[in-house]
């Protein structure tokens, strides 16, 4: 009974910090993290690793749309999707559609998702990534570029598992970037 109010208070304080830090979201950091994610996506690997490797760009986009929805947005997702399409050698717009879906889910749920800590967010992230993979699979099958395979769902699973680490890392960098003296 005693712990509840204190934790609530702590949460309120955190939330306040969150709100204030929103004013100081820096676009270069967002772009830089997306470029880093793209770099991770480009790393060479064999087929087994490839079928479990998460889509880092998707996870990074998800993070920014949940924690900084004002600074990122649909157009950023669309442009990174087009770039990923070129890298993936898929049809133009396929990945863009997937990333827009992710962004849409994030923009709808971000208030609710921020109520939980990063580990509690995993199931929701998992569902969003699973939906994204399904969109990818359906568009790919409709366009006739590849036959469907259930193993593709592993990537969303691994994406959900790396989510807390990405979120903690990016939050730490973001908080560090904000100069506390300015507040």
């Amino acid at each position: 009974m005693q712990t509840k109010p204190t934790s609530n208070k702590a949460f309120g304080h955190d939330d306040l910090l969150e709100q204030e830090s929103q004013l100081f979201a820096s676009r270069p950091l967002i772009y830089l993290s997306l470029v880093a994610a793209l770099l991770l996506n480009l790393v060479v690997s064999n087929n087994i690793v490839l079928s479990v490797r998460p889509d880092f760009v998707a996870v990074a986009l998800l993070y920014w749309n949940i924690y900084q929805p004002r600074q990122s947005g649909m157009s950023l997702a669309f442009i990174s999707g087009i770039i990923m399409d070129v890298v993936n050698a898929s049809i133009m717009g396929q990945q863009a559609l997937v990333y827009c879906t992710i962004t849409f889910c994030a923009l709808i749920f971000y208030r609710r998702l921020r109520m939980f800590n990063v580990f509690r967010q995993i199931p929701a992230i998992l569902w969003i990534l699973l939906l994204a993979q399904t969109v990818l699979l359906i568009t790919g099958t409709l366009a006739g570029t590849y036959s469907s395979d259930w193993r593709i769902l592993f990537t969303s699973l691994s994406g959900g598992l790396i989510w807390p680490f990405v979120a903690i890392l990016l939050t730490r960098i973001r908080k560090q970037e904000i100069n506390p003296d300015e507040l």
Partner: protein, 298 residues
Amino acid sequence: MYTSPRFFASGPSPLTRFFLYALLSVLLMIADKHTDQFSELRRVIGLAVSPLQKSAYAPFQFYHQLGQYLASFDLIEEIEQLKQEHLRNQHELYQLRTLANENRHLRALLGATEQSQFRTVLAEIMSTPRNPFNRKIVLNKGSSSGIREGHIVIDNLGVIGQVTRIYPLTAEVTLITDKGHTVPVKIARNAINTVISGAGRNHELELQFLSVNTDVQPGDLLVTSGIGGVYPPGLPVGRVTHIEHDKSMQFSRIICTPVAGVDRHRHVLVLIDLPPETTPSAEKTDLTDSHANQANQQ
């Protein structure tokens, strides 16, 4: 009618924006599937991304170089072996050269068309696209090295695929296992001409539309037939592994495995066809173009 003023001007709602962008991407997909208008845009983005690709690849290159330094002990032995092999091959090469000369001479006598000559470019597999079911790879050489769309990519064992998209510094190769990629082949044992197509899965090719009574056996080697003019004749493509006769079907289901190992090698050869010394037949170039386009669209 009174509507409450909005506290924060945040533009259209997420749903509206999502619909707009989804519509845009779907239109883009349809346009890209049916036309060739975005190849320039692709080229520009590809060029912009290529430094990133190179830097993502750099640690692996460094690791391999390090490995080569450390493995110098094995190398001495390997060099010795290779020298012997080279000597043996040298002898065969001389024989081959005389045969080729003789062949050209005989062909000239017969008045047959000159077979096209090839120059090879050694390239490294730089990255495989993220989706493992998208059967494509990216090489670290592009149009600056003379590679063009439609060129054939092989390794030391056989055909890997065909260059389908070209950037200044990189090239995109569609593998023969890609769904919808077809190669004209013949069975090496009895020279039956047919067409082999990818199944869209790893290590799997399909021989379609061969009737049940065709003479095909497990273990048969399939080599390119040279029909169509895109693939030079005689390159190994696959080996028959599994034949399924279904009484109710007119055709038998024949599964093959590709001979070349894309997963195993880093180095591949791109065959660049030089224009034949004699008058090039217009028909042939035309065919090449149409094939390249076809592969491109697929």
